[in-house]
């Protein structure tokens, strides 16, 4: 019988499997450390929670061929200036509310989740809130009683009433405002915000 050639030998492939797996995993661990540190809240890609005190926009950059978040002058949320700690507190309440109410099983956040309701990534900046003067009030009312304040865009799909309290609703709005400031490498493409001229 012939010798088994290398490419068909069990022990060669066993070693290859071990080395390839260990190598890939090692690279992943290194990249994970790097990504986590680059995306710390307060860094360049993921702004500090106190960004909720600022005007946020998302503008197409011709040279980069994608939209980028633009953080502007002071534009208070609910007429209050939050310290970093207060802002984090409020965003945390909002984040926990989105989890406890299971938003992700109808909506997408950063494009991940369910496809029964619109994406929330840039929802705070959406033109659907008519104008910036009405936005906060509309959002709070909608979250607290989505059935009565339904915005179905002709689809008959209504968000159910999830017993969101006023404080939780404020938290959710703060969370959405903060999330809209994250640098998502240009997703969604060509999104026109509430600030954009028609």
């Amino acid at each position: 019988m012939n010798e088994t050639p290398l490419w068909a030998s069990e022990s060669f492939w066993k070693k290859t499997a071990i080395w390839v797996t260990a190598g890939s995993f090692l690279i992943l661990v290194v990249l994970t450390f790097d990504s986590l540190s680059q995306t710390q809240a307060g860094g360049k890609r993921v702004p500090a929670y106190s960004v909720i005190n600022k005007k946020i926009d998302y503008v197409y950059q011709k040279d980069l061929h994608k939209s980028m978040p633009v953080i502007g002058e002071t534009e208070l949320l609910f007429g209050k200036e939050y310290t970093e700690a207060e802002a984090e507190q409020l965003v945390m309440l909002g984040k926990k509310t989105t989890q406890a109410k299971n938003c992700m099983n109808c909506h997408t956040l950063l494009g991940n989740g369910a496809y029964y309701a619109p994406d929330l990534t840039k929802a705070y900046l959406d033109k659907g809130w008519v104008n910036k003067e009405m936005r906060e009030d509309m959002m709070i009312k909608f979250l607290m009683d989505p059935e009565k304040n339904a915005r179905t865009f002709g689809s008959n799909r209504k968000m159910p009433n999830l017993d969101i309290t006023e404080q939780e609703a404020k938290g959710v709005v703060a969370f959405l405002k903060w999330m809209s400031s994250i640098d998502t490498n240009g997703f969604p493409y060509n999104f026109k915000t509430i600030n954009a001229e028609d």
Binding site: A8, E10, W13, T16, A17, V20, T21, S24, F25, L28, L31, S35, L36, T39, R45, Y49, V91, K95, T97, T98, Q99, A100, K101, N102, M104, N105, C106, L109, L110, G111, N112, A114, Y115, Y116, P118, D119, T121, K122, D126, G128, E147, F153, S155, N156, R157, P160, N161, L162, I164, T165, G171, M179, I182, T184, N185, G186, P188, Y189, N190, K192
Partner: protein
């Protein structure tokens, strides 16, 4: 009717049912009796999965259906969470099924294994009841600990997570201790290391984080590194073992193939994780790394098709369990098309920019989960029932063979039909919502209201019904196939 009558009535019904199925547990070793417990719960949860999928699909067409009672979010959560859990049950069942034969000895911690089964099943029951009856909580930690975590696929509340980890540890102990007492093999080694990774990854999904970029980063560690790395290798192990047993392929061949598959799968799948890091706030280098490595992921899936088909062909498709081998072949192709082809089609960032978070993902998700993981479990259900009946003949000319053939046809055609309907909806969404209207809420609803989207939802509903009928037929077949069969299973010689 009072409670006592009801109780007695159901007991009598249960007794009738047991007499009717006429299954004899003494045909199975103690370890395999534990294994079939897992399979039974898996089938029940599979049924629940499709039932709630049908309700959710109905709500796409009639949004007022069960509105405020069982909202879409609840139904969808049960649909996908039941899927994850039934597949895990199935995998545990498969491993217990092959453990004794592969190690050449009895399961070491059988009592502990049984206890773990009942603990897990109790916990799953409570979790599902809470999903259905309590549904949501206030925005605080106690809701995430007791009701649900609100994270797609791993919604189970934190207390259940901890229970799951403990049960996994017991399972893992059983596997390692049994191989150590009996004998190790290449298959055993890959299995053990893979289970460490699979269980370890679950822990990555057990923490609350306010920073959503970090939260989704770790969430994908669990989801992606499960389905595109550790589950895929687990299936490779199970497949390797079944090809040996069902077709008589030589051990050295399947082991070598297994190592090749591990190298290719982990080599592409681990860094392929990057295809979920394009748009969640993570750095730009993921566009390159994720795009490149995930584009290689279909290669091991091609290798798996070649392996299965070559082995089956070279043994002239002679085998001891026709339904199981049919489902194994369905697995090879389903995995290749669902994960490999459908996954590849939207994995490059230039395309994913527009398909991300649309029905496109759902199209891929359905074909991939069904093709890769439902199929292999179903193959094992057939293997289990064959032995439970006393290792009987189970070929194309078995009594009422139309049932398994039709169940196979309906389930596969149903899922393929849903996949195509969702693909059409996904293209329409990518085009109208994303490309033309820039993904605003208005754009989202223009796409949802579009006639081609709406008719796709109707088609999905009908193909869903086809899938669901296939499952009902499958369950009926599993309960009856081989009943009264007197011929012994076809002998298979290794060559």
């Amino acid at each position: 009717m009072n409670a006592k009558e009801l109780c007695e009535g159901s007991r009598a019904n249960y007794a009738n049912f047991i007499t009717w199925v006429a299954l004899d547990r003494s045909n199975l070793s103690a370890g395999r009796q534990l294994s079939v417990n897992y399979f039974i719960v898996a089938v029940i949860l599979f049924f629940a999965q499709l039932l709630f999928g049908m309700i959710a699909a109905t709500q796409f067409i009639f949004p007022n259906f069960l509105y405020d009672w069982l909202d879409f979010s609840v139904n969808r959560m049960v649909h996908i969470n039941a899927m994850i859990v039934w597949m895990l049950y199935g995998f545990i069942g498969c491993v217990y099924w092959l453990l004794e034969e592969e190690s050449g000895t009895d399961i070491v911690g059988l009592k502990l294994g049984k206890l773990a089964f009942w603990v897990l099943t109790g916990a799953v029951t409570i979790v599902v009841l809470v999903y259905l009856l309590i549904q949501t909580g206030a925005g605080k930690d106690s809701s995430l600990w007791l009701i649900n975590e609100g994270r797609e696929y791993i919604e189970a509340p934190r207390w259940a997570d901890i229970g799951i980890v403990i049960v996994m540890l017991i399972f893992f102990y059983n596997v390692v201790a049994t191989f150590s007492k009996g004998k190790w093999s290449g298959i055993a080694g890959v299995l053990t290391l893979d289970l460490v990774a699979l269980a370890g990854l679950y822990v990555a999904g057990m923490f609350y984080m306010t920073n959503i970029t970090h939260e989704q980063f770790w969430w994908w560690w669990v989801i992606h590194l499960w389905v595109e790395a550790t589950w895929e290798v687990l299936v490779g192990v199970i497949m390797a073992w079944s090809l040996m047993k069902l077709l008589g392929v030589r051990r050295q061949i399947v082991t070598t193939w297994l190592y090749i598959e591990v190298a290719l799968m982990f080599g592409s799948g681990i860094l392929g994780l990057g295809h979920h890091y394009f748009w969640i706030g993570t750095p730009e280098y993921w566009l390159t790394i994720g795009g490149f490595f995930s584009a290689l992921e279909p290669i091991p899936l091609v290798a798996m098709v070649v392996h299965a088909m070559y082995d089956a062909g070279s043994h002239s498709f002679k085998n001891s369990n026709h339904p199981a081998v049919a489902w194994i072949i369905a697995q090879a192709f389903g995995n290749f098309f669902g994960a490999g082809v459908w996954g590849f089609m939207h994995t490059l960032p230039q395309i994913n920019m527009f398909t991300h978070g649309t029905q496109w993902s759902a199209s891929h998700g359905h074909l991939a989960f069904f093709g890769a993981y439902a199929t292999i479990n179903i193959a094992f259900f057939y293997l289990a029932i064959q032995h439970w009946r006393g290792d009987v003949w189970m070929n194309s000319d078995t009594a009422n063979a139309w049932r398994w053939k039709w169940a196979l046809g309906l389930l596969n055609a149903g899922v393929v039909g849903m996949t195509v309907a969702l693909l059409i909806a996904g293209y329409e969404q990518s085009f109208i919502e994303r490309a033309v209207e820039g993904s605003t809420w208005g754009g989202y609803f223009s796409a949802q209201n579009h006639p081609s989207f709406q008719s796709a939802m109707v088609w999905r509903w009908f193909f869903g019904l086809m899938t669901f009928s296939g499952l009902i037929l499958l369950i009926w077949d599993l309960l009856t196939i081989g009943k009264g069969e007197t011929r012994k299973a076809q002998e298979i010689v290794e060559h």
